[in-house]
Symmetry: C2
Subunit: 607 residues, 2 copies
């Protein structure tokens, strides 16, 4: 079997001879992107042959220019593996990314539900023949315990290694582990936020509540498509084997992240006894090996809604095999554990005033309510906020224009990683259109046009298609915002706003009755509130009512990691959340059409 | 790798080239006996080369005569495996043996704690978007359930296979399984009695309480020694790898028995959802992979005493992976789940009168008490009752003299399977000595001698060692009962009787205050009460107070299989049993010496 040598990853894998390189890479959970699933049409599955690149295929030249081809870059899906290869993969390794940092100050008592106790016991003798387990139970004075197989099999030796001094790891009355000597110092937990694109992990010391490491990793499932729909389709088309494969690939990502976290914190994975997973429903289905086929078409039915607990061994996570795996409850096929964790973190369910939580991605999840009542829906924003379907769009990676400031005098760009701009991401798009609206270069209905006497009007020209476009940057390849891009934003923000407006209507309150609007997720974190309000993505409230809440899903998961009672709290709040299906709402199209317009009265109140 | 072809077993296994044949066989859990562990000294590991027998080794001739050698019989431990072999193994296959049959009429309510429920649900629709799990939970009206991973992963497809009609298997609020359609008819359980020599299995329909199959199998661990001591020593000498090996071998026996039981009853193993294990503490340690090293030397400490529950998947038993595995509690290193199950079956713990339960093997386990108080001890009877250390001794297999009747006129033998006698087993030994005592051919102190005027006296001769011996049979090879055999019986029965007498003393009652004496186990079942009393194995009570109770361990395990409450009952009775260590009892030697004598006043009361 040929070998793939991956010097960057410090890894060598064996693959089937004659297999398609793209297939081999994604089945190994290695970083490779794809939108077309290996059909040779999307041009995303780029790899670099570090030695002996094969001759380029004719179809490759549509996606890769000569300079890139000369560097040995090829599309993996167009090449078979017939011999050993040395490859470079295009991947950011595990990173400690600012956008994964927890924003909220964690205000939870440290009650993780897992504790380590050390006891020194009387040695066994002819006058004291109590079985090992009874000896421990009587010393702990907590009644009869529920011993895991793992703890039982370790106990005999652990007791005799250090003169009957032993450390027990308990979760309630369940004994997870038995170790010789005083091992209380080592008791850890990890919270995960599993996104379609990124998996973030937060490693904590459960004894002190201290954060030890935060890392994120690209979701290795992205070789099966960038969005959940293509991954679900892969399973529906190919059945159980594909489900197993996608579960395995996701697991490999989680285990890789665990390894990185433990290495960073210099701890042993077997001392991780609790994990909490927040994620969208599709990711949680894959995590557990549940069939996701009901999620992507009407009537949109997930397998479960409950908070669930498993053993790490059951899911083959590389921590202590008896370690608890808590999967946060979802509400519906699109309102997942990431959202319920976000509600927990932002405290909607405990507040007297009515608050709105919005998490914007390909879908926008919307939760509205207070301690009395919570309602939720999901609105199909489409991919514009992720930079897709935008002419110069890209995701929020180095080189993306993330912020735009315009004035009568000129224009300033903020670019991720301070490199020359390569494109524009979702927050830059909202900023740009918001600023153009402020200068009336974009009108109420979305038309892009020059304005007399404004120097920036010189940047408005006609594109090849005869439609106007706005030049954002001519440093290197010119970057334009086109009329079509503005329309795409209108569609996207219109869907979100329609969802919010219908939610307010369902709830029976007016927008000025809202106490706060919380923007969850990495995207929400990047947004400038004034421009969000200018484009009318959100109801017309004063800007100080709008607050980004960082990675609320991660924050909620960490709260559940550190405080066991939060697991009940999140289950209870999920059970009382009312889900309503936007597409069932008769007037959705009308509201949507109206929401696509930009606010006529200009920016939001007070901007 | 060479192959071993085993036509009787209809099996072919691959083994390492050059490996020792005995090692290969026992590591595969195949039937091969040994007392010396493969040192070539015990002569027990006989196999038959069905093709091309190798030349016999010189050391083989000490154990196998020429006729046997000519048939191709060899000692496995003396031959390496260098090529494919065709072998016959000396084993009784799984049998439905009379001695495993349950004696007691089972008087338990059918409440197995596992049930199957079938529900027909409203199909999912845009107006009814409840997740699958919620849909099922609301139909069952039992609140939120604890879903196993297995049930969750099956649910989506099961629901959609038959129009949302589905069968759930529940153990309390735990969902073990989800199947399409109405599958309520298939819900089974198996009770096991795991002995050092034999594993017996009882397959029941948990829906009707009907017994479907009973089978027993030789314990495949016997390649590691006939008794628990040599198997424990194997682990102590060789460490974790040997423990893993013995666990694997025992598991292979249990899985083989499960297969036989399911095939007999024409059911699918995945429909077995509950198993209950009774066994001696050493076997239960091996079953769970617990280190047995504390069991065979002072202070004799087992790892645990609790009733324990696992999932079948954790122990790799070939039933439904979520099937419950209940391991009955033991009291001490020698009083195991087989004995606590025996107490449950014979009802000592519920009776007002004081009863005695005795289970005789290499050790005799003794339990004494009533609903108020229970005490237990274990007495080292030695191997005489198993036919070892007896000149013509053998275990209770075909050809063994199992019963002996003597009168002034002559002698009658009962031989297992009605074949010419080959030796004498434990029950035959007790019968023979009991009858000789009645005829005064054996005296109070155990001396064997002729009695004037008794024709049977002609059978008393002097052996090569100058000691008297009694001719039991001269059909074929003569079978004698020697003076030394009588001494061995005195040692064995003396140990049991000493244990019983000390127990009575500890309890503070006299022997005539005993209500009943129950003889548990296969051996107890074979005994003739009159001779048991004549030799003084038991206190001097009237014979109608003595009752064999069959396989009480199996009966108790089946009771727990059919009625979940019995699991609590057995745990509670075990917790209140007081164990006392006979060897701690200062006057043990005195009592033991006295107990070796035969009753001076002849037979027990009323005999």
């Amino acid at each position: 079997m040929p070998e793939l040598h991956l010097p960057q990853q410090d890894k060598t894998v064996r693959v089937e001879s004659g297999g398609n390189l793209f297939e081999c890479l994604r089945q190994q959970g290695l970083p490779v992107q794809s939108a077309c699933g290996g059909m040779g049409t999307c041009g995303k599955c780029r790899v670099k042959f570090l030695e002996n690149p094969p001759p380029p295929k004719a179809s490759e030249q549509a996606h890769l220019n000569n300079e890139v081809l000369a560097q040995g870059v090829r599309l993996a899906c167009l090449h078979p593996v017939e011999q050993d290869l040395v490859l470079g993969l295009f991947e950011a390794n595990a990173s400690t990314d600012a956008k994964e940092q927890l924003k909220t100050e964690l205000d939870v008592a440290l009650e993780p539900g897992v504790e380590k106790l050390c006891v020194s016991l009387a040695c066994a003798s002819r006058r004291d023949q109590r079985p090992d387990v009874v000896r421990v139970e009587q010393a702990l004075k907590r009644g009869r315990l529920d011993w895991s197989k793992s703890a039982l099999t370790s106990l005999h030796r652990a007791l005799r290694q250090d003169d009957f001094r032993v450390t027990l790891t308990l979760a309630g009355d369940r004994v997870l582990d038995a170790e010789a000597q005083d091992a209380r110092a080592h008791c850890y937990g990890v919270a995960f936020d599993v996104g379609t694109t990124t998996i973030a992990g937060y490693l904590f010391d459960l004894g002190s509540g201290r954060e030890l490491a935060v890392k994120s990793l690209m979701n290795p499932q992205r070789g099966y498509g960038g969005d959940v729909i293509s991954r679900i389709k892969h399973v529906r088309d190919r059945g159980q084997a594909a489900l197993d494969e996608l579960q395995r690939v996701l697991r490999s990502g989680i285990n890789a992240l665990l390894k990185v976290l433990c290495r960073e914190a210099l701890i042993e994975p077997r001392h991780v006894y609790k994990t909490v997973f927040a994620g969208n429903p599709t990711m949680m289905h894959f995590l557990l090996g549940l069939d996701p086929s009901g999620l992507d078409h009407s009537p949109y039915i997930p397998v479960t809604r409950n908070l669930m607990t498993f053993k790490a061994g059951e899911l083959q996570f590389d921590i202590h095999p008896e370690g608890r795996v808590c999967v946060l409850p979802n509400l519906s096929a699109y309102v997942g554990g990431d959202i319920t964790a976000g509600v927990l973190a932002s405290g909607l369910h405990r507040a007297q005033g009515v608050n709105l939580l919005v998490d914007i991605g390909t879908n926008a999840e919307i939760v509205l309510g207070n301690e009395q009542r919570l309602i939720a829906c999901s609105s199909p924003a489409g991919p514009a906020f992720e930079g897709a379907e935008i002419q110069c769009g890209m995701s929020a990676n180095p080189g993306a224009i993330s912020h735009v400031t315009m004035s009568a005098e000129g224009l300033e760009l903020e670019v991720i990683a301070n490199v020359p701009p390569k494109g524009i991401c979702g927050s830059g798009l909202i900023d740009a259109v918001g600023q153009l609206l402020a200068l009336k270069l974009v009108a109420h209905r979305g038309n892009l046009h020059a304005v007399d006497g404004l120097s920036l009007s010189g940047r408005v020209t006609l594109g090849d298609n005869g439609q106007p476009r706005f030049l954002l940057s001519d440093e290197g390849e010119p970057i334009y915002l086109t009329q079509k891009d503005v329309r795409e934003l209108q569609l996207a923000k219109g869907a979100v706003r329609a969802g919010v407006d219908i939610a307010l209507q369902q709830y029976g309150i007016a927008e000025d009755q809202l106490d706060h609007i919380y923007l969850a997720g990495a995207f929400g974190n990047f947004l400038r509130v004034e421009n969000v309000l200018r484009v009318g993505l959100l109801p017309n409230v004063s800007p100080e009512k709008v607050a980004p809440v960082g990675n609320a899903a991660g924050t909620g998961a960490v709260m559940c990691l550190l405080n066991e009672d939060k697991l009940d709290e999140i289950q209870t709040l999920t059970e009382r959340m009312e889900y309503f299906e936007l597409s069932n709402y008769e007037k959705f199209s009308d509201v949507f059409m109206g929401s696509m317009l930009f606010p006529e009265d200009g920016p939001g109140k007070g901007v």
